[in-house]
């Protein structure tokens, strides 16, 4: 085993690990990861690790743009909000864009995990797609998947790929439906459609 792989595994072992994922982009993975980890942190030391290395949304949601992680003997020091620590590539590259061949993303994500100084609960904010982020996490640990969708046909159909994959890998994901409606003067407006596709897929998986 490689040193960084061994280290990354150690960081996740005997921890509660949650992966907020979706294959589809823009459904609210980052905002849900943020809220979820904030809520866990009310009682337990929690670390949010942002694996979306191109968007680094957590730095924007927590107002960390341009801030740089300190590094000490224990590794990368998370940005701290009470008992919540936030780790993002944004804290390593500042506000630079990260353009990167696909063959490098796995190594970058693994380094982030390996060097993080983590708490008892770890929440991963995943990028869209069905690639290295999922394969790497599977390799490193037995995570609990939280799958996010919006009610639209496109999103639900894409999320169904992920649900099918996770099921085949023996996992039981929790499905979260975001942006289900919008409060339009007390009435529920549904810009992304009704709940038919969601109902259908949640019965299947």
């Amino acid at each position: 085993m490689e040193p960084l792989e061994a280290l990354a595994r150690t960081k996740l072992s005997n921890k509660r690990v949650i992966a907020v994922m979706s294959a589809k982009g823009g459904v609210g993975k980052s905002i849900i990861s943020a809220l979820l980890s904030l809520s866990f942190s009310s009682s337990r030391q929690t670390t949010l690790i942002d694996l979306d290395i191109h968007t680094m949304a957590s730095t924007k949601l927590f107002g960390l743009e341009g801030k740089v992680h300190e590094v000490n003997k224990k590794g990368i020091v998370p940005f701290s909000f009470g008992k919540l620590g936030v780790i993002s590539l944004g804290g390593i590259v500042k506000d630079r864009y990260v353009v990167l061949p696909g063959s490098n993303t796995r190594d970058v994500m693994q380094s982030l995990i390996a060097y993080s100084d983590v708490g008892e609960i770890i929440v991963f904010d995943l990028p869209p797609g069905l690639g290295d982020e999922v394969l790497l996490l599977e390799h490193l640990t037995d995570f609990t998947p939280i799958v996010v969708t919006i009610p639209s046909k496109v999103s639900v159909k894409v999320v169904e790929y992920l649900l099918r994959y996770l099921k085949e890998r023996g996992k039981r994901p929790v499905l979260v439906v975001n942006m289900a409606y919008f409060d339009c003067n007390g009435k529920k407006a549904r810009p992304f459609g009704g709940m038919d596709y969601v109902k259908n897929v949640s019965e299947k998986y």
Binding site: P3, V71, K94, D107, Q110
Partner: protein, 145 residues
Amino acid sequence: MHEWSVAEGILRSVIEWAKENNLDSVRKVKVAIPSFTFLELDILKEAYDTLKRGTVLEKSSLEVVYKDPLFKCRNCGNTFNLNQVLGELNEVREEFGEEYPLHLVPGLAPAFIKCPKCGSNDVEVSPQDITIEEVEVNGTAGSSG
């Protein structure tokens, strides 16, 4: 500073390998590190010697070799070496200081190093990771995969 984490990773991977192979004492560990990370050898060795206590590596020494990366541009086919991008690299080091991005995350190299011929970031870097090259056990040498 993350040299301490690197040392921990090296130790953990060898400890695991030794356990799988029922070995109870390791004499020497040789690791290879991409030179463009500019890891600090002193700190790495200090960390190694501190963290090895109480493990099967207690009596082991650490040898470090630096691997020079070779870059290949997938856009124009140009291959180049570290010397040809030292200027660029030093700019990044100056901007970010000690814990500069490629020191911490060598896999980020294509995001910071452009092909000197065509300017593309579509660059293959090899090697870009820290590897265990050799482990010496009671006089015999093996390789931990």
